[in-house]
């Protein structure tokens, strides 16, 4: 927590710390309640550009407007039953959003209705 420079470097090295043999080296948990989302080594690390709605939308935003953020790093989960605990929303534009099964925080990722594959955003989860 002390040096700002160090935290910059840490971000750069994220992938090294968390990914091993192309998979998540550590368990994947909810940032807010610690609920276990994925077992270690159960999902593939991939990069992909995808807009995800913010977990916390600004209350002052225009009605009906959704604030997005582009995410580039994901864990790719081919079979939905690989998840330990996860919620799937109703379908919006051919995709379902993923949320924490215990506290409902999300989206932590999305599910593609065509491929039936799920993608969990690294920036929205915690490794443990």
């Amino acid at each position: 927590m002390s040096e700002v420079e160090n935290s910059e470097v840490a971000v750069e090295n994220d992938q090294k710390d968390y990914v091993e043999d192309g998979k998540n080296k550590l368990n994947v948990k909810c940032k807010f309640c610690g609920s276990k989302i994925l077992d270690k080594k159960s999902a593939k690390y991939i990069t992909l550009e995808k807009d995800l709605p913010l977990m916390q939308q600004d209350n002052n935003r225009k009605e009906g407007e959704i604030q997005n953020e582009q995410i580039k790093e994901f864990y790719h989960v081919e079979n939905m039953y690989t998840f330990e605990n996860i919620g799937f929303t109703h379908t919006v534009a051919n995709c379902k959003y993923l949320s924490c099964a215990d506290c409902d925080a999300g989206p932590v990722g999305f599910y593609d209705m065509d491929t039936k594959h799920s993608y969990v955003a690294l920036s929205r989860i915690e490794h443990a």
Binding site: I66, E78, Y81, E84, G87, A101, G106
Partner: protein, 220 residues
């Protein structure tokens, strides 16, 4: 295909009149402020939860359904694949309790005859508004030979316990037949979902997302 990391998959369904709290049971009333944002606007279709029972790792896939769908419109496709059904009424609403009998009849007609059922008297945090006594809930469950529990989605009372019990009951039922240890068996616990889901039963993710023998299990 990746190796299976669990022993069993149980699909559960939530059923009951509109307003009894099915969606709240699935979507926690959480103090967490995040629940009021994006996810709650869209709503949860189903959840996957992992529990361990008697040394077995069991995945529960829990579906919400819509109570506005009247019993007569609930069809076989709606129940397909469900190995467990949570039948929910509201202890502050007489009508929802009376309708339990109709839901039971509907389940008998359309669901797999193996399906494991459990009755939940929800909103037990509202003691001052109670109109259905716990004894009446227990009596109807006993009469039909099924499990019963009072719950509160709001105060988080007995929710996890109810799901564990239902899963355990399904486990009891399936373990007798579990000669083939290599195959994960799929059980389904049915939840009551909202109109959108019931309106399109096709919407239920079918075998595609499931393990190899999921389709087979659903077909019996």
């Amino acid at each position: 295909m990746a190796k299976k990391t669990y022993d069993l998959l149980f699909k559960l369904l939530l059923i009951g009149d509109s307003g009894v709290g099915k969606t709240c049971i699935l979507f926690r009333f959480s103090d967490n402020h995040f629940t009021t944002t994006f996810i709650s606007t869209i709503g949860i279709d189903f959840k996957i939860k992992t529990v361990e029972l008697r040394g077995k790792k069991i995945k529960l896939q829990i579906w919400d359904t819509a109570g506005q769908e009247r019993f007569h419109t609930i069809t076989t496709s709606y129940y397909r694949g469900a190995m467990g059904i949570m039948l929910v009424y509201d202890i502050t609403n007489e009508k929802t309790f009376d309708d339990i009998v109709k839901w039971l009849r509907n389940i008998d007609e359309h669901a797999n005859e193996d399906v494991e059922k459990m009755i939940l008297g929800n909103k037990c945090d509202m003691e001052e508004k109670r109109v259905v006594s716990k004894e009446r809930g227990e009596a109807i469950a006993r009469e039909h030979g099924i499990r019963f529990m009072e719950t509160s989605a709001k105060a988080n009372i007995n929710i996890d316990r109810a799901f564990s019990e239902l899963a355990e009951a399904i486990l009891d039922k399936t373990s007798g037949r579990e000669a083939d240890a290599d195959h994960a068996r799929i059980a389904t616990v049915a939840y009551c979902t909202s109109a959108a889901v019931a309106a399109s039963a096709a919407h239920m993710p079918e075998p595609e997302g499931a393990p190899d023998n999921f389709a087979k299990t659903l077909a019996f």
